[in-house]
C-alpha cells in the first residue's frame, strides 16, 4: 500500500512539476501578449480542461506503441510515459488557470507599478507576484487531476505491480477481482490526498 502511494506521488508529482515548469510560463506568455485569435485560443484551452483521460491515453498509446512515431523509445508501460501522458492531460488546466490567475490581478496594480517607476519587465514581475497564490492554485488543481485519473494510467502504464501501479489503477483492478477491503483503504488514501490538496487550494484562495 505504501509502495503504491509512493509511486502515485512520484509520478503525479513529477508530471505536475514538469507541467508547471512549461505551462505556467506559457500562460504568462499568452496573457501578456496581444495577438489575433487570443480569445479563441483561451476558449479552446478552457474546453480542454475536461479532456477525457482515455482519449489522451489513446493518443499517447498510439504515439509510443511499437509502430508509433515514438515507439523507438520503448518506454510504453513505464512510469516515464505515464508522466508524459499526465503532463499533456493537465496542460490545459495549468495554462488556462494561470491565464485566469493573471487576469484576476486588477489593472490598477499595473498602473500602480508603472506609476512608481517600474519598467515593463518589473511590471510583469509585480503582476506575477500578485497572482502567486492563484497560480499555485492552478498547479494544485492540475495535481489533483493527475493523481485521481485512471484511464490514462491503465492504458499507457499497464498497471504493473510494483512498477506502474498507482492508487487509482490499483483500486480499479482490486475491485474487479472482487476485493473490497484493499480498494477501500486505497480509496481512503486517495481521498485524503485529494482533500489535502483541496484544503490547500482553499487556503490559498483566501489570501
Amino acid at each position: 500500500m505504501l509502495e503504491i502511494t509512493a509511486t502515485t506521488l512520484a509520478i503525479s508529482g513529477s508530471s505536475t512539476f514538469l507541467a508547471a515548469l512549461i505551462f505556467v510560463p506559457l500562460g504568462c506568455l499568452i496573457h501578456f501578449h496581444d495577438f489575433r485569435g487570443k480569445r479563441l485560443l483561451v476558449a479552446i484551452i478552457q474546453t480542454f480542461y475536461s479532456l477525457p483521460t482515455v482519449f489522451v491515453g489513446l493518443l499517447i498509446f498510439m504515439a509510443f506503441s511499437r509502430e508509433g512515431p515514438l515507439g523507438i523509445s520503448g518506454i510504453l508501460f513505464t512510469p516515464q510515459v505515464m508522466v508524459i501522458g499526465q503532463v499533456f492531460l493537465i496542460a490545459p488546466i495549468v495554462t488556462g488557470l494561470t491565464i485566469s490567475a493573471l487576469s484576476g490581478v486588477r489593472p490598477e496594480i499595473k498602473d500602480t507599478a508603472v506609476s512608481l517607476g517600474a519598467s515593463t519587465f518589473q511590471t510583469i514581475r509585480t503582476i506575477l507576484i500578485e497572482a502567486r497564490y492563484a497560480t499555485l492554485t492552478a498547479v494544485l488543481v492540475g495535481f489533483g487531476r493527475a493523481i485521481s485519473e485512471v484511464g490514462l494510467a491503465i492504458m499507457v502504464g499497464g498497471n504493473i505491480s510494483g512498477y506502474t501501479r498507482v492508487l487509482s489503477t490499483a483500486i480499479a483492478l482490486e475491485t474487479t477481482q472482487g476485493n473490497i477491503g484493499l480498494p477501500l483503504a486505497l480509496g481512503m488514501i486517495l481521498i485524503s490526498l485529494a482533500l489535502g490538496v483541496s484544503v490547500l487550494v482553499n487556503r490559498l484562495q483566501q489570501r
Binding site: 486588477r106 490598477e108 496594480i109 498602473d111 500602480t112 507599478a113 508603472v114 506609476s115 512608481l116 517607476g117 517600474a118 519598467s119 515593463t120 518589473q122 509585480t126 507576484i129 500578485e130 489570501r207
Partner: protein
C-alpha cells in the same frame, strides 16, 4: 519652465476626452486642476504621468520634449510619482508596499529602511509595517499610497482626487497630510479635485477644466471671484447668475437690466451686450428695513425658503428675480426670518461680477 503641455488631445474611440490643453507649471508650484466629475482631470494626469500616450500634442519636462522611446519615457517616469483616486495596494505588507518604488530603483539596505520608516512616520502609519496592506481601511490605504509616492522623492507628484473616495473626516485628515507632505517634499505638485474649496486651500495656481477643455487658469482667488464664464461661475459656487442686458456704462459703472430690474456693477462692457451678473450668496446682506447703506443695490424681497446647515442659513428669495443669500443661522434667528417674511436684500456693485453670455 518645469512642465509644459502644448495642444494635448486625448480620445477614446469616438469621444474626445481632452481638447487642446495648454499648461505651464513652474518648479515647486502646486497646481490644482479643478473640474466636475468626468471633465477629463484623470485623463490629463495620466498623460502628464506618462501612463498613457496622447492622441496628439506635446509634453515637455525641463524644456525636453517627451518622445515615444520607452527608455526615455521610463527615465522621466522615474522622477514622477502618482497617487490615484482609488489607490491599489500590492498584496504584501505595508512596509513592502512603501518600499516598492525604492526597490524598483535598486535601493537596499539601511538607506531603504530609513526612508521607508520615515515615510511611514510622516503619514502616521508607524507600527503598521507588518500589516497586510489589503486589510487596511480606505483612509489608511490612501496614507500608504502617499507614503509610497513620497518615499521616492519625486520631482513631480501627481495627486488624482486623493480625497474623493473618503468619508469627510478621513478626507479632511488626508488633506492636512497632503499639505504637510507638499511642504516637506518641496516638490512640484499637480493635483486634481472636484472640490473647489480644497483646490483653493492647497493651490498656488489652479486651472478649471470642463468637458475636456481648460477654460481658465490663474491664482485661486482670481478663479474663485472672477470666473470667466457661466459654467465656471456655477462651478465655483456663484449661485446667483442672472441673465440680462447692459443698459448703460458710465466710466466703468454699468447698469444691467434684468427682466425690468436694474443692478449696478463694475464692468467695461458696452450697452446692449448680453451678460450674466454673478453674485456670490455670501456677498448679499439682508435687512428688515431699508437702511441707508453704501451698497449700490437694494431690492425688496420675499423669503421663499430657508435651509439651515451647520452655523449657516441659505435664504432663497424672490425680488422680481430669484436671489440666494448665505447668512449665519444666528442672524436668521435674530431677524426672525420665515418663509414669506418681507425683507431687503443688498449687495455692493463691486460684489457683482459681470461676464458676457
Amino acid at each position: 519652465m518645469f512642465l509644459e503641455v502644448k495642444g494635448l488631445c486625448q480620445r477614446y474611440g469616438d469621444s474626445e476626452i481632452l481638447k487642446d490643453i495648454n499648461l505651464d507649471v513652474k518648479r515647486g508650484e502646486v497646481f490644482v486642476v479643478i473640474g466636475p466629475t468626468g471633465s477629463g482631470k484623470t485623463t490629463l494626469l495620466r498623460l502628464i504621468g506618462l501612463l498613457d500616450k496622447p492622441a496628439s500634442g506635446r509634453i515637455y519636462f525641463g524644456g525636453q520634449e517627451v518622445t515615444d522611446s520607452e527608455r526615455s519615457r521610463l527615465e522621466i517616469r522615474r522622477t514622477i510619482a502618482v497617487v490615484f483616486q482609488k489607490p491599489a495596494v500590492f498584496n504584501t505588507s505595508v512596509y513592502d508596499n512603501v518600499a516598492y518604488g525604492l526597490r524598483i530603483r535598486k535601493e537596499k539596505g539601511a538607506s531603504l529602511r530609513n526612508k521607508v520608516t520615515n515615510a511611514l512616520e510622516t503619514v502616521g502609519l508607524s507600527g503598521y509595517e507588518n500589516r497586510i496592506a489589503r486589510s487596511l481601511s480606505g483612509g489608511e490605504v490612501q496614507r500608504v499610497a502617499l507614503a509610497r509616492a513620497m518615499v521616492i522623492e519625486p520631482e513631480l507628484l501627481l495627486l488624482d482626487e486623493p480625497t474623493a473616495n473618503l468619508d469627510p473626516v478621513s478626507a479632511s485628515n488626508i488633506e492636512k497630510l497632503i499639505s504637510q507632505v507638499i511642504q516637506k517634499l518641496d516638490t512640484t505638485v499637480i493635483m486634481s479635485t472636484h472640490d473647489m474649496f480644497q483646490g483653493q486651500r492647497l493651490a498656488d495656481r489652479m486651472g478649471v477644466i470642463m468637458a475636456g477643455k481648460m477654460l481658465q487658469t490663474g491664482d485661486p482667488r482670481e478663479v474663485f471671484n472672477l470666473p470667466r464664464g457661466r459654467e465656471i461661475a456655477e462651478f465655483v459656487g456663484m449661485e446667483n447668475i442672472l441673465g440680462g442686458v447692459i443698459a448703460s456704462n458710465e466710466e466703468g459703472m454699468v447698469t444691467v437690466d434684468i427682466e425690468g430690474n436694474v443692478i449696478e456693477g463694475i464692468s467695461n462692457l458696452v450697452p446692449s451686450e448680453e451678460v450674466y451678473a454673478c453674485i456670490r450668496p455670501e456677498e448679499i446682506t439682508l435687512a428688515r428695513a431699508r437702511d441707508s447703506t453704501s451698497a449700490r443695490n437694494t431690492f425688496p424681497a420675499e423669503v421663499t425658503r430657508i435651509v439651515l446647515f451647520g452655523p449657516l442659513a441659505r435664504v432663497e428669495m424672490d425680488c422680481g428675480f430669484p436671489l440666494v443669500a448665505l447668512i449665519t443661522k444666528r442672524s436668521a434667528e435674530e431677524m426672525e426670518l420665515q418663509t414669506g417674511t418681507r425683507i431687503y436684500a443688498s449687495f455692493k456693485a463691486t460684489g457683482v461680477h459681470i461676464i458676457t453670455q
